[in-house]
C-alpha cells in the first residue's frame, strides 16, 4: 500500500488549467488515504497504457440487500494492495439534492473513517456515491449510515434510486410536487430498491415541467413530467417591459413557438392556447410575464433507456395527463400491473421499453388495461401489416349461435 503520494507526471498535467481538477481532489484525499494514493498510481498507469485496470465486481454487498453496492476489484492487487477491493457504495440522496452543512459533514465523517475519502456528488442516477470501499468495511459503513438516517440506493436489476428536479422547493414552473412524489415512491419501493428481482433495472425520474431538468424522458423507464391543461398565465404589462428592454418578441418568442400559436403586434401578446403544445419556450424567455396554467399535473411516459441491449429509446406517452395526489395509489397500481407483466414475460436484461418494442405497444396496453389514445403515437402506423387476432365467419352474429 502506497505510503506516499506516487509520482504521476501525466496526471499532474490535469492539475493545470482553469476548470476544477479531479486530480487535485484525489491528491487531497491521498494526504490521509493510502487507498487514494494507490488510485493515483493505477490511474497514472492507465494513462500510460491507455487501458483500465478494474475487474468485474461479482456479488458483494451488505447483509439482506442485493443492491446498493457495486463490487470492484483491481487486476493488479499485488502492485496496488490499497485498492485490491475498491467497491462503490450508492447512498440514496434526499429528494432534490438539498442538504445542510451538518448532514454533509456527517457523511464525510463516516467516509473518512471507513473508506477512500473520494465521492461522486452525485452519480448519474442521482445517488451519493462513496467511491472505493473494502469488503470488510461495507457492513460498518452501512451501520453508521443508517444510524445517521441514510440508506443505500439501488443497483442491479431492481428499482433504481428515484430522482427529481428541485420542483416547488425552488422553481416557479413546478407543475406538481416532485420531491413529495419521489420520496413517496422511494419509500414505497424499498424492497424492490434493495432486493433485485426484475429482468433488469427500472428507473423513475420526476421533472416538474417540460424543461425536464433531470432528463427523465431520455433516462427513466418511467418519466413523470409536469405540465398543465388550461391557459398560460400572462401579465401583459410585464410582456411589454420585456419588449421595452429589447427582447424581439415576434422573432425570438413567437417565431420559436412549435405550436405557432402566438402573435405579438407590438403592444399585446396573443396566445391561442388551444394549439399550445406546452413546450415552455415562451415561459423560459419571459418568466416574469408568463407562467404555466393553474390546472397542473403531469404527463406520464414510459420506456426510455441508453443503448444496451437493443438500442437507445426515449420514453413515450402512457398517460397524457395525471393529477398526482398522495398517496398516488392509481399510479402505484398501474406500475404494479406493469411490473408483474414485465417480470413474467420479460427476458433477462430487457428493459421495459425494449419489452414493449418486442411485444408491441398495443398488446402491452391491452395487458395492463389501458385504452389506446392518439396522444400515445407521433402518428398512426404507416405499414399495412396489421396483426388482427380475430376474423369474421359467415355465420357470425346469427341468432342461436352457441
Amino acid at each position: 500500500m502506497a505510503d506516499q503520494i506516487p509520482n504521476t507526471p501525466k496526471l499532474d498535467e490535469l492539475e493545470k488549467g482553469p476548470w476544477p481538477s479531479f486530480v487535485k481532489e484525489i491528491k487531497m484525499a491521498a494526504k490521509n488515504s493510502p487507498m487514494a494514493r494507490d488510485l493515483l498510481g493505477v490511474l497514472e498507469l492507465s494513462y500510460n497504457e491507455k487501458i483500465g485496470h478494474w475487474k468485474h465486481g461479482g456479488i458483494v454487498g451488505v447483509m439482506g440487500y442485493g443492491g446498493g453496492v457495486i463490487g470492484r476489484y483491481s487486476d493488479m492487487p499485488e502492485e496496488f494492495p490499497g485498492i485490491s477491493h475498491f467497491h462503490t457504495i450508492r447512498i440514496n440522496q434526499p429528494s432534490g439534492w438539498f442538504y445542510t452543512a451538518d448532514a454533509l459533514r456527517t457523511l464525510c465523517d463516516i467516509w473518512d473513517k471507513h473508506g477512500s475519502g473520494l465521492t461522486n456528488m452525485h452519480g448519474s442516477t442521482g445517488d451519493i456515491v462513496f467511491l472505493g470501499c473494502r469488503t470488510d468495511a461495507l457492513e460498518p459503513v452501512f451501520e453508521d449510515l443508517t444510524k445517521a438516517g441514510f440508506d443505500l440506493g439501488g443497483s442491479g436489476s431492481d428499482v433504481r434510486t428515484p430522482s427529481c428536479c428541485c420542483g416547488p422547493a425552488r422553481c416557479e414552473w413546478a407543475c406538481y410536487d416532485t420531491l413529495a412524489l419521489t420520496y413517496d415512491l422511494t419509500m414505497h419501493y424499498q424492497d424492490e430498491l434493495h432486493r433485485p428481482a426484475f429482468p433488469y433495472k427500472f428507473k423513475f425520474k420526476m421533472s416538474g415541467c417540460p424543461n425536464d431538468c433531470v432528463a427523465s424522458i431520455a433516462r427513466a423507464d418511467m418519466s413523470i413530467i409536469g405540465t398543465w391543461r388550461d391557459d398560460i398565465q400572462m401579465n401583459q404589462d410585464e410582456v411589454k417591459k420585456y419588449a421595452d428592454n429589447g427582447l424581439n418578441i415576434q422573432r425570438d418568442v413567437a417565431g420559436n413557438c412549435p405550436g405557432k400559436c402566438m402573435d405579438w403586434d407590438g403592444n399585446e401578446l396573443k396566445i391561442e392556447n388551444e394549439y399550445c403544445v406546452r413546450c415552455m419556450h415562451c415561459i423560459n424567455v419571459m418568466p416574469k410575464a408568463l407562467r404555466p396554467g393553474k390546472d397542473r399535473g403531469a404527463c406520464v411516459l414510459l420506456g426510455s433507456k441508453a443503448p444496451i441491449v437493443e438500442g437507445a429509446l426515449l420514453s413515450s406517452v402512457l398517460i397524457p395527463f395525471w393529477k398526482p395526489e398522495p398517496p398516488y395509489e392509481d399510479l402505484k397500481d398501474l406500475v404494479e400491473t406493469m411490473h408483474d407483466l414485465w417480470c413474467e414475460e420479460g427476458k433477462a436484461r430487457e428493459r421495459i421499453g425494449e419489452f414493449i418494442q418486442r411485444v408491441g405497444m398495443g398488446n402491452f396496453l391491452e395487458e395492463i388495461g389501458l385504452e389506446p389514445l392518439p396522444e400515445m403515437v407521433a402518428h398512426p402506423r404507416e405499414n399495412p401489416y396489421v396483426f388482427y387476432e380475430e376474423y369474421y365467419e359467415e355465420d357470425d352474429g346469427d341468432e342461436g349461435e352457441e
Binding site: A29, A101, I308
Partner: protein, 356 residues
C-alpha cells in the same frame, strides 16, 4: 443484531430545506438571472432566494465537501444543494453575501456560472478511475474539454443552452444519447475470448443471448466448452463482456472516442431528440486528448457563430441541414455515418429538400 436498521430510505427532504423554502414552497412567482451563475427567485410573499451555481469536477474529496459545508455555513445559514449536472448551488437569503461567497468559491479554484445560455458541468461516468468496461477515461477528458470551454460556463454569450455529456462505453451509465454534444467511449475490436475460463466464469446460454446481433454461439475450442464470435457481426457493444468476464473488450489500440451532436432532452421548442454521429473515432490520447478537445471546440464555436438566438445545436443543424454541417465543420462524411442497424432506412434522406 437487534439494532440493525434496514430499509429506512433516504432522509426526508424537508429535514434539509432552508426556512425560506419551507415558507415559500410552491409559492415561487418568477426568477431572474442577475449575472452569470447567479439567479434570484421571488415568491408571491415577496421573499427572495438567491442561488449561486458553482461548477464541480463531480469526483470530490471529503475535504472539498467540508469546504462546501463551511461556505454554506458562512453565507447561507448552512444550506446548499446539488444539481442534476453535479453543480453545487448555494442558497442565500442575503444579497450582500453573494460577492463574498463568489470570491471564496474562486479561492477554492471553482467557477461560478452554468445558468442560462451557457454550458453547464459535463455529466459523465467513471472511466479508468473505476470502471471495468471503460473504453476511455471520463474525468480526464471532461477536465480537458472544460478547460477549453470554461469561458462559456462563466458567461452567457452562447446562443442557447449547451449540454455536453460523456459516457466511457456504450452502456452509457450517464445516458448521454440526448446531448448537444455526446462524448462516447467506443471499443472497435471483438472480444478476446479466454476459452479456459468461459465455462468457469460464465453461463454460456446467457452469453449467446446477450448479443444483439446474434454473433455469439456455443462452441468447443481446444476441448473447452466455450463460445465463438462471428466477427463480421460484432459491433463492439461489450454486452457479452458484461455478462462474461472471460470476454474482455478493452484494447489500447482500438479503444477511443466518438463524438455525437444535436441531441436534446428539454421539450422547449423542438421535441427531445437523439444525438447523431459526427466523428466516428478519435484515438485515446491522454492526458489531455487534444484531438477530442479541438474537435469539440470547433463544433461549439461554429454553432455559437451561426445559430439563431435560443437555437440548440440540434435545432441549428436541422435548419441548415447535415450536408452543410459536414461542409462547415470540415468533418469527413464516411461509411460509418450511415446507419446500418435496425430500420436504418428511416434515417436516409427521402426528399429533394437539399441546399447547395
Amino acid at each position: 443484531m437487534a439494532e440493525r436498521l434496514t430499509d429506512i430510505g433516504p432522509p426526508k427532504y424537508d429535514k434539509f430545506l432552508p426556512p425560506i423554502i419551507k415558507e415559500n414552497y410552491g409559492k415561487w412567482l418568477y426568477h431572474e438571472v442577475l449575472k452569470p451563475g447567479v439567479m434570484v427567485h421571488v415568491s408571491e410573499t415577496g421573499d427572495k432566494l438567491f442561488t449561486v451555481r458553482v461548477g464541480s469536477p463531480r469526483l470530490v474529496s471529503t475535504e472539498k465537501i467540508r469546504n462546501y459545508a463551511d461556505l454554506a455555513e458562512k453565507y447561507c445559514d448552512g444550506y446548499l444543494r446539488f444539481t442534476s449536472r453535479h453543480n453545487v448551488e448555494f442558497l442565500l437569503t442575503r444579497e450582500e453575501n453573494i460577492d463574498p461567497l463568489i470570491a471564496d468559491v474562486k479561492g477554492l479554484g471553482h467557477m461560478v456560472g452554468g445558468i442560462g445560455n451557457s454550458i453547464s458541468s459535463i455529466v459523465h461516468t467513471q472511466g479508468w478511475i473505476h470502471c471495468h468496461s471503460a473504453a476511455t477515461d471520463a474525468s480526464g477528458v471532461v477536465k480537458a474539454v472544460m478547460d477549453d470551454l470554461h469561458e462559456y460556463f462563466e458567461t452567457m454569450k452562447l446562443p442557447g443552452k449547451l449540454r455536453i455529456a460523456l459516457a466511457c462505453c456504450l452502456n452509457m451509465c450517464g445516458a448521454v444519447h440526448c446531448s448537444d454534444i455526446a462524448i462516447l467511449g467506443i471499443h472497435r475490436r471483438p472480444p478476446r475470448i479466454d476459452h479456459t475460463k468461459v465455462k468457469k466464469m460464465c453461463e454460456i446460454p446467457s452469453v449467446s443471448a446477450s448479443c444483439p446481433t446474434a454473433a455469439i454461439r456455443p462452441a468447443t475450442v481446444d476441448g473447452h466448452p466455450s463460445v465463438e464470435v462471428i466477427e463480421d457481426r460484432c459491433m463492439f457493444c461489450a454486452n457479452c463482456y458484461t455478462v462474461c468476464p472471460a470476454m474482455p473488450m478493452n484494447d489500447p489500440l482500438n479503444d477511443g472516442i466518438s463524438i455525437w451532436v444535436g441531441g436534446k432532452v428539454s421539450n422547449a421548442r423542438h421535441e427531445p431528440m437523439f444525438s447523431k454521429l459526427a466523428i466516428p473515432f478519435i484515438p485515446n490520447n491522454p492526458p489531455r486528448w487534444p484531438e477530442t478537445t479541438d474537435a469539440i471546440k470547433k463544433i461549439v464555436e461554429l454553432w455559437a457563430a451561426n445559430a439563431n438566438k435560443y437555437e440548440r445545436m440540434g435545432e441549428w443543424i436541422e435548419r441548415i441541414g447535415w450536408p452543410k454541417f459536414f461542409r462547415m465543420t470540415g468533418i469527413k462524411f464516411q461509411k460509418e455515418h450511415i446507419d446500418d442497424f435496425k430500420y436504418a432506412g428511416l434515417t436516409f434522406k427521402r426528399s429533394t429538400h437539399l441546399t447547395y
